[in-house]
Subunit: 428 residues, 2 copies
């Protein structure tokens, strides 16, 4: 048995389960051994039970081939930010669907407090243990990058899925808002919270998307000749002044590569009425935090992070009137963005200001993500570039709402180019 | 000890806890005895544990006066539609807040399946056991009307709070959407689901509203002279043709009474762009049901109500495009409604087509409620009228979003008139 079975993507492992050349329990053992070795440095997992995982794996090996689900034996870890020491009897909706599809649940990864603060957990970036893996879905991004699991789940209220995707150099997808149930995961903001997906290949993201029932109105036309003839928008956004060297270079290089593969790239701008989008996101987030954390505040205010206490106490000073202006303002922009994006196969935007910062005091900035979370559109982080310190940098592809499957197909051909020619040399 | 302690409203009982003339355990015993007697006929409760309730009650009696919460010893029952036989370790957010305020949790009341179908549970209407108490929060409405609990919780996605309020002749409030956390209650539609409140008096609703942190931007100006000088809108809505005799008479009588108490009542209409609101609500509900019930569908399709299976299988035929049109269409109407409603102390609209129908095959129509759920505005059912069979009928008061406290103050003075002079003779 090879020692690096754990390096398989989900798609690769599934093929071998199917042709009988690999057992789920063999694959699980390899992953568990690898996790044992890496946990001291990376600390991606909050909870993992080796014997339970192996028992699950053996049970899956006993399932007859014609009864196997689409994710048969596929190790997954979920990042469901539930109270410490709480062991809910019910899985989150996403985990129920994964289990029903035959997935092997490995364990629970680490997140920031309630996936709602920017103070990092103990998880480190697998590419450089002095740097943050991003957050809030810190453990999920790190575990997938570090081959501790082929696929993982996260959530995004600001930039909690896309940012760890870029910082760890993996594919990360924030689907259309509410297209996948986020039930059972702690609420921060009903109108912003979105389930997120992590994988090391677009094919693996597509496996998850199918299980979760992501579907466009139009069956996407699968690209047959790479990006040739495709039309991309390039949007620096109203916060471009916060982009640093790594991201600036990645944007330039990314465009150059697509053009050299005979795609068309057109620079576009937000119309002026999008200017307030970042402020509106912030107002909605903090105001919704007042509702979301009031129960914890009433029970144990002193155990709640200062930033969350401030939401409940309305330290932000937003009135209900300001909230409604933000809520209605963003609502009016959503169809406008869809109309703009419909002219392109995807719009290219930054994922992060730069490579993962050093230290763990902050999981980094969500400034390039929040606007898309508020607009409810699907976003995929595609890795391939690197910053001054050799750390990974990705770019985001964005589409109109409910163009998730189409965006996955575009991400696949774009990813093939950027991963190969984008210049990131530090892949594990 | 009086035998009818169970008839106290929350406000009345609290006053006696405070002056020491009543113990929580005495009040709880009276309620439990009354529930024992009524459960065979009304079947409001799904789960209740007498010894646990009494133990809780005695513990509350032991709390020193200066450590008591605002709902000290107040029996509450919650209607949290969680999987049968599941005993989650975590309370729903609303229940966490109630406990933190010192409430005594009596038990769990009955709802329709996932609070998402119109097929009634075994609960009957306490005013006539051959009739439905409405749904989905069937047990909550019935229990409060039947003096089995002074206050209760529900949810509303279509008309699940206001309809049982009207059918059972109690006050029911659907606050502004997302102003109170609905975490821990089964999701049907993120953009529609709203926590609901039941009580037999507006003062009791206000107790709950305060605990849950409902707050307007402007402190409401408390009416000092009843409804005199107040300005009401009267809106029959685009589905007025579905109103039957009971509701038609109630609307007429309600207006007449307010006018006789020197309030101004002005008939208003929705602008034409509100015409599609009922269809849009239906499209959003069914489409969101696809996301919400996919997990249960994947696990046990055969145990899911046919209507919910149809949501997941998209039997409704709504495309994602149609969903977005409905979602964005309703979003655009919300600020328009607020602007209209801001000219009135409240707008009077029907709560139901008529009194509670006979039988339990259907919990009744939500046709007069869904539009307000979609518009996110606060609604209070005020009882006081009756139908041809002597069953209660209420009318709804509606306000702009985040005018919850102001609406409560208006409901109080309106309720004083309608309850006294509206002609409902069947109060228990």
């Amino acid at each position: 048995m090879s020692n690096d079975l754990y390096r398989f993507t989900a798609t690769e492992a599934l093929k071998r389960f199917e042709d009988g050349s690999l057992k789920v329990s063999e694959y699980a053992t390899s992953l568990l051994d690898h996790i044992d070795q890496r946990q001291p440095a990376v600390q991606a997992f909050e909870y993992i039970d080796r014997s339970q995982v192996l028992q699950q794996a053996r049970a899956l090996d006993d399932v007859p081939k014609d009864k196997r689900g689409p994710l048969h034996g596929m190790p997954t870890q979920h990042n469901s930010p539930i109270y410490k020491d709480d062991q809910p009897e019910l899985d989150a909706a996403s985990v129920i669907m994964l289990r029903a599809a035959g997935a092997l649940i490995l364990g629970k990864t680490r997140t920031t407090e309630f996936a709602a603060t920017v103070k990092g957990p103990a998880t480190t970036n697998p590419h450089d243990s002095s740097r943050t893996p991003g957050g809030s879905s810190s453990g999920s991004g790190a575990a997938v990058a570090d081959f501790q699991a082929p696929v993982a789940l996260g959530t995004q209220t600001g930039g909690s899925t896309i940012r760890p995707g870029s910082f760890n150099g993996v594919y990360a997808m924030k689907p259309t808002w509410a297209a996948i149930s986020r039930e059972g995961q702690k609420v921060y903001s009903l109108i912003l919270d979105t389930l997120g997906l992590y994988a090391r290949s677009v094919d693996d993201l597509k496996l998850l998307a199918d299980v979760f029932g992501l579907k466009d109105d139009q069956p996407p036309r699968v690209p047959t000749d790479g990006v040739k003839g495709m039309k991309f928008g390039l949007l620096r956004t109203m916060v471009w002044d916060q982009a640093r060297l790594g991201t600036r270079n990645a944007m330039e290089k990314g465009v150059e590569l697509l053009k050299s593969h005979r795609a068309e790239v057109k620079e576009i701008d937000f119309p002026a009425d999008f200017d307030r989008l970042p402020d509106w996101h912030s107002c909605i987030l903090k105001s919704d935090g007042r509702t979301a954390f009031r129960p914890e505040y009433m029970v144990a205010k002193d155990k709640l992070d200062r930033s969350l206490v401030e939401h409940v106490e309305e330290a932000h000073g937003y009135t209900r009137g300001a909230y409604l202006e933000a809520f209605d303002g963003v609502s009016a922009l959503r169809p406008k963005w869809d109309a703009i994006a419909r002219d392109y196969d995807a719009v290219i935007v930054p994922s992060v200001p730069d490579e993962a910062p050093e230290g763990f005091e902050s999981t980094g900035s969500a400034v390039f993500n929040s606007m898309w979370t508020a607009l409810h559109v699907p976003v995929i982080n595609v890795p391939g570039f690197q910053g001054e310190h050799g750390m990974p940098i990705g770019l985001s592809l964005v589409a109109p709402r409910y163009h998730d499957q189409a965006l996955l197909d575009v991400a696949k051909v774009v990813g093939e180019i950027w991963e190969k020619e984008g210049g990131w040399s530090g892949k594990l």
